[in-house]
Amino acid sequence: MAIATAISDEGAVDLRDRADVSRQIKLVVVFGLVVALLVWFALTIENSTVLYTLGERISKETPAKEVNGQALAWGAVAVAVVALLLAAVNKVPRGGLGILVFVLVGLAFFTGFLVWNYADQDLGRPLAMVNPLPGTMRLATPLVFGALAGCLCERAGVINIAIEGQLLMGAFFASVASSAFYSAEMGLLGGIAAGVAMAWMLGIFALRYQVNQVVLGVVLIAFASGLTAFMLSQIPDDYKQYFNEPLVLERIAVPVLSDIPILGGPLFNQTLLVYLMYVAVFLVTFLLFETKWGLRVRAVGEHPMAADTVGIKVNRVRWQAVLFGGVFAGLGGAYFTVGSTGSFDNDASAGNGFIALAAVIMGRWHPIGATFAALFFGFTWTLQAQLQVLDKIPGELLRASPYLATIIAVAGFVGRVRPPAADGVPYVKS
């Protein structure tokens, strides 16, 4: 026994060393690549003057200003070189400080990349680097809501692939409710109702009739997509104003907070839906990890039998989590109609539900992680939309970059993830 322990201990030491070495190699390679690219960016900039603005576009309040692009690019190189040296001697800290290092390197790369993109442009009109945050927040909104719905369901042990379907129904009924009641806020309620209705379908078939939850998710997406298309084609043209010409949510500026430079506008001059998103992220995190109810949800998702043994009603808790998730999915759906463009169109959610599902997995089934994954998508989408107009990188390659980046991130850094142990397993009391 003693020998066995010694062996396994030594094995553990050996394993940790190997993990440490592979981490070091990984970091050196990544930071090395970053440095190489940044140096190349800095060297290929010819005209060092680059325009930038802190707003979303050039306007009177946010005029374009000049900055020395080359200096910025070399500054970025310096930051990356420091990180590379740290990695080379294996002194990159772990935990919070380590994340700071990654964020700094990321920011440096972003700066260098952006400067390189905007330098030496001659399209006849002034082009300025703009603040990517407003677009990021907007595009991430439905993803965050969808991912929260996914987290809630799956933490309780119910696989939710149907986020896309929930978003679609939410979008449709938000549009209908907003048009019928002539109020954008009613649209949100309509979206919530539709999201909860879809969640109810998910619950009844997954929990009561114990349908295979992967099958169920795929089917619900097909159902939602078919049903919304069917209903949309049923709206007669002369009744369109009562069904599919919704009012759109107005932007509300939060006093004081919205005046903070750079961050204020994007974060605090948004629609009601975005503010609801902030609340939702904190609410879900708080509920899941700080309350008795959250502990129960996680318990029925990890080990329902143990939960049952201590007197928790497994299926009741799962029902609550699924329906509660439906609220957020419906709000996320509302983004596509009352939250942004207005009227509903076929497949309005355009695959956002699938991205939200990916965000749930990337965020390791944690609401905060999933939110950051969703923001990552919003950010890359915004960036590619901005860079589309420039001629440095072919537009199609840019369009692909968010997905490519995700694959690299998942394969290289996230790796093996562990879902809740009882995810997708119906609980039958024996």
């Binding site: 066995a4 062996i7 396994s8 094995g11 553990a12 394993l15 696989i159 078939f205 009561r208 009739y209 114990q210 349908v211 295979n212 939850q213 992967v214 099958v215 169920l216 795929v218 089917v219 619900l220 997406i221 097909a222 159902f223 997509s225 078919g226 049903l227 298309a229 069917f230 084609s233 049923q234 007669p236 695959g351 699938f354 991205i355 599902l357 990916a358 997995i361 990337m362 199609e396 390659l397 369009r399 692909a400 968010p402 997905y403 490519l404 995700t406 694959i407 998942v410 394969a411 290289g412 996230v414 093996r416 993830v417 879902p419 009882a422 995810d423 997708g424 397993v425 119906p426 039958v428």
Partner: protein, 433 residues
């Protein structure tokens, strides 16, 4: 035995590093595990009364409703569809306000709308020889891609990536088809091979990533779908892929020398290949060593590893073959119908394939039947829209979803119809992600 049980469970010592004296007993364990897995291969046809454990290995999806339950499920879906048809008919809506004074109006109009819609649906799908031909032709890509999803399912992989694999396959087949200049048979073979290789390569990416880094196949296949769409868009923006003298994102169709010949009417030889593929996949899954390993890994990767199988290899191969089958689906449209490459050419085949595979319970025969049903509904839906009731063809999508939903929920169907349960109800798939 007891000391070996400890081996894999204390984690520090991987099974393959067991010391020499233990090796013999490891083979014992392997045999034991294999024997256990063998029990799952007893028959080919799913047996509705099979107990959960042995059914587990045959298919990851073990809801096995009886024929009656399946028929009731379809009937239920049609009833809900009928309600939707009635509600979509203007005359019915107009008859509604006076439903209590003149109920016959309401019911007559409803009946007219429902019967004419469904009659058109059936007639359009299987009413004539050419209709059947179109249905089979439309089903072929669904069957091929569905087989790919099924096969991955059996390995425990959820392949959402049929869409992307199909797009890449179509792109390569199209390119070889319209830009190379080869004699008839060889040209077809070249384009055909290109499609299979393209799909297989695209599928294998997910498999390799899963096997090597543990990246979740659901994420990677979703992303690869989007990526494939971007690659296609990029290709279509290049002159090499565009029609001469046109700047549209539309390629020329494949040359005649690279097309499948017609069997009868508008049904081409590629359709035969789809059915052959089903037989090959059946043989692969049920009769070959690789198929056995695929099913074993799908049923329990840890047990399969203990039995000496290489789980990463199986993941990679399963995704590769799944991609290959999606590539085969791509040849149906590009080399069969002669479709041009366009951004929307793949439609939703890749996603419908998932539903087809699920309805077919991830078995080859089931996938073929489900593919035929979906093909028939799609073809019939177009006829339905053109009929007097002009019911929108989106209704068939609702019908498809409802049929799969109800077939997947035998307990629900029994609850509605008050049927008695037959045999054990092994309606659970004890597998999550």
């Amino acid at each position: 035995m007891s000391e070996h049980r400890k081996g894999p469970s204390d984690g520090a010592e991987p099974p393959d590093q067991a010391s020499g004296s233990n090796k013999e007993q490891w083979t014992d364990l392997q045999q034991e595990a294999k024997a256990k897995l063998e029990t799952g291969r007893a028959g080919d046809d799913p047996d509705p009364n099979a107990d959960g454990e042995s059914a587990d290995l045959r298919s990851p999806i073990t809801w096995l409703p009886t024929v009656v339950e399946t028929l009731v499920a379809v009937a239920l879906a049609l009833v809900i569809g009928a309600v939707l048809i009635a509600l979509s008919e203007r005359k019915v809506i107009e008859a509604m306000p006076y439903i209590f004074s003149y109920p016959q109006d309401f019911f007559r109009e409803s009946w007219d709308a429902i019967s004419s819609s469904y009659a058109a649906l059936v007639k359009g799908a299987i009413g004539s020889g050419s209709a059947i031909g179109t249905t089979v032709e439309r089903s072929a890509p669904l069957i091929c891609a569905g087989l790919g999803v099924s096969l991955a399912f059996r390995a425990g992989l959820f392949n959402i990536g049929a869409q992307g694999q199909l797009i890449i396959g179509a792109m390569l087949a199209g390119y070889v088809g319209f830009s190379w200049d080869l004699p008839a048979g060889i040209h077809l073979l070249a384009a055909f091979t290109a499609a299979l290789l393209g799909g297989a390569a695209w599928g294998a990416i997910s498999g390799v990533l899963k096997a090597q880094t543990g990246a979740h196949e659901v994420i990677t296949t979703i992303m690869l779908n989007f990526l494939a769409g971007s690659v296609l868009l990029y290709a279509l923006s290049k002159e090499a892929f565009q029609r001469e003298g046109s700047d549209n994102r539309l390629s020329p169709p494949a040359n005649e020398s690279a097309r499948f010949a017609d069997v009868v009417g508008n049904t081409h030889w590629g359709v035969i290949l789809a059915f052959l593929a089903a037989i090959v996949v059946w043989w692969l899954l049920e009769r070959s060593t690789l198929g056995f390993e695929i099913r074993a890994v799908g049923a329990n990767p840890d047990a399969a590893r203990t039995a000496g199988m290489s789980v990463p290899k199986i993941y990679t191969l399963a995704m590769l073959i799944a991609g290959l089958l999606a590539g085969l689906a791509a040849t149906m449209s590009v080399l069969g119908r002669g479709d041009s490459l366009s951004p929307t050419m793949a439609g939703t085949i890749g996603f419908d394939a998932i539903t087809v595979a699920l309805l077919g319970r991830a078995t080859p025969l089931g996938t073929v039947l489900a593919g035929l049903l979906f093909g028939a509904l799609a073809v019939g839906g177009v006829a339905m829209q053109a009929s007097a009731a002009s019911t929108p063809k989106e209704l068939t999508q609702v019908l498809q979803a409802l049929i799969v939903l109800f077939v997947a929920a035998p307990a629900f169907v029994r609850g509605i119809t008050r049927m008695r349960a037959q045999g054990s109800d092994s309606a659970l798939m004890a597998k999550g992600w």
